[in-house]
Symmetry: C2
């Protein structure tokens, strides 16, 4: 093995919108010497991109430590094991893990928060990054364990054409709810109506969210699964029903603010209408993951879940691909392909 | 009975700070003719004042309909029954109900949301408006059923010297928590330390809440019982711990804003740290009221609950007494005495 290990490092912390200039390209040696006991070497095949990665670039306390300057940018990936001193991770196997923006990464088999998972034979390599991956689990746990929708309730999903939102919206439909999706542009909105069979869509680029919610939700919103934050969150709170639940999954409209933007001015609605607003991260629910995979797998087998993969190409294109999340260019789950399995 | 019935009516809706000019004094006849079957006539003895009454003056949807212009201002009171065509409400008995800012009121025995309650013989007439009343129940349900503190956790209470906050803080102490109270001015803060035995106090009029929380809560706040909203809420969210709970009881800093003020700019902390923020009103928990009264009564009998009554006098002084809630003049539960029982 005499290739180089290409890497994208975090080079500076953004104040405001992230750009390619915040990352630095580097070529290093592939970790070549004899592996320590338990270690294994992987070659990345697909990188996964999520909005939450923007938060990892900030030097602020959060559920994960910040990526240090000069470190390889943290990222989930599907990889193939190419060397191993760990019998649980044999050579040739596909594995999902937090392998970062690089060609090759070392795994130890003992990552606590994000243990690497072997991918069973025959499973398409992108599946653990898309419909059977973290974004779907996030939608599943957030909607069912925090939102707790009941049949006939009205569920609003923002970022509804995104990887998480589209799954949350579909699970809400499977649970017998009336589902309204917010997305940007006619292509995404049409997909939500035609393929995901949502009841209504709001195109935030061409419609006033508040006006549409007034028309669509005279009885109020029972569950709001919010990926967007900011004005979108405020509009949802304006129309929340008594005993409504607001699932705070993320706030993509806020991640690139140079300074914190004012929050929703209508939190008194939470008091007036006895509303619960709750944030979460997927790993809180690891004890329930078997049931989640069982449900998702069943729905998948029954053809009841649809998704889109937006697969970019080229190592050089990694930072630019990340930026697609924040300008809304991605059509479905954002991935980048680095290599085919050998 | 040839007295007049003095009344204070809602005369105009405030835009911004409420003032005496928003109310109008009127003298009418005492409801004198033969009562309809089931009705009873009461004479008010004590009026109760709560910040939530400010919300009832706005023409906005809420958990109760707005007070109409020209109507008697809505208010809880303790009264004495002076005529009755209802065997359940005999003459001479003391009764608590939503009798409004007037000398005399008719009760029907069938108010749905706030049924009038007879006050048992021997109970001091102010007790159902103070420590054994709605403000204590609000503290009890909010802290225990939403905040759910466990022994050793850090509980922050804003408006801690108020009628609700002081009870929430004491219940948190009874549950084995470390309790920090926020109040305005040295007198209130000293009472919280000396009488209520809180662990720490923050005088928001003379100290920077955020700086004090940084010093007092390096591990974060587990439960924040918030009566204040605005910047106080934002400061609490800045220091919320993982899996923290924020009990939204009210937002007294916001009630008199002419236009909605920007909300907390740090709601992403709810996502990062998996925080639940939940609003409520006391009447959601009516099915648990027997247990609540049993617990409060036991603590009261054991001398474990302390409270202050701020009893103003004079019918003319009713609107001015209401304003005391919003300039922080009240020392404890705000009441106004109209008459002694006969």
């Amino acid at each position: 093995m005499n290739e180089v290990n290409r890497q994208w490092l975090l080079n500076s912390r953004p104040s405001g919108m992230v750009s390619e200039a915040h990352f630095k390209y580097l070529e290093t040696d592939v970790p070549e010497p004899i592996l320590a006991d338990g270690e294994y070497l992987v070659r990345n095949l697909y990188l996964s991109f999520e909005p939450a990665m923007r938060g990892w670039m900030d030097d602020e306390p959060s559920y994960l430590p910040p990526v240090e300057l000069g470190q390889v940018m943290r990222s989930t990936a599907v990889a193939q094991i190419v060397r191993s001193e760990n019998p649980d991770f044999p050579e040739g196997q596909l594995v999902q893990g937090m392998f970062g923006w690089q060609d090759y990464a070392l795994g130890s088999g003992r990552d606590d928060m994000f243990p690497a998972n072997l991918i069973p034979e025959g499973v398409p390599p992108t599946l653990p990054l898309t419909i059977m991956g973290g974004t779907s689990l996030t939608a599943y746990f957030g909607l069912l364990h925090i939102g707790k929708p009941t049949p006939g309730e009205t569920v609003l999903v923002s970022g509804a054409a995104g990887a998480t939102g589209s799954v949350a919206a579909q699970i809400a439909k499977l649970k017998g709810c009336r589902v309204i999706g917010i997305a940007g542009g006619p292509t995404k909105c049409q997909w939500l109506l035609d393929e995901l069979k949502l009841d209504h869509v709001i195109d935030y680029k061409n419609e006033e969210i508040g006006d549409r919610l007034s028309a669509l939700c005279p009885e109020g919103i029972n569950v709001f699964f919010d990926n967007v934050g900011g004005r979108t969150l405020e509009a949802g709170i304006d129309h929340i029903a008594q005993f409504g639940r607001i699932v705070l999954c993320g706030a993509i409209s806020e991640y690139n603010n140079a300074s914190p933007a004012p929050g929703p001015n209508n939190l008194m609605n939470l008091v007036k209408f006895s509303v619960r607003m709750e944030g979460f991260i997927m790993i809180n629910y690891m004890d329930k993951i078997d049931q989640a995979f069982a449900d998702l797998g069943q729905w998948l087998a029954d053809g009841k879940l649809k998704w889109k993969e937006d697969i970019q190409q080229g190592f050089d294109h990694i930072p630019a691909t990340f930026l697609r999340l924040f300008n809304g260019a991605n059509e479905g789950k954002q991935l980048l392909k680095l290599a085919d399995p050998r």
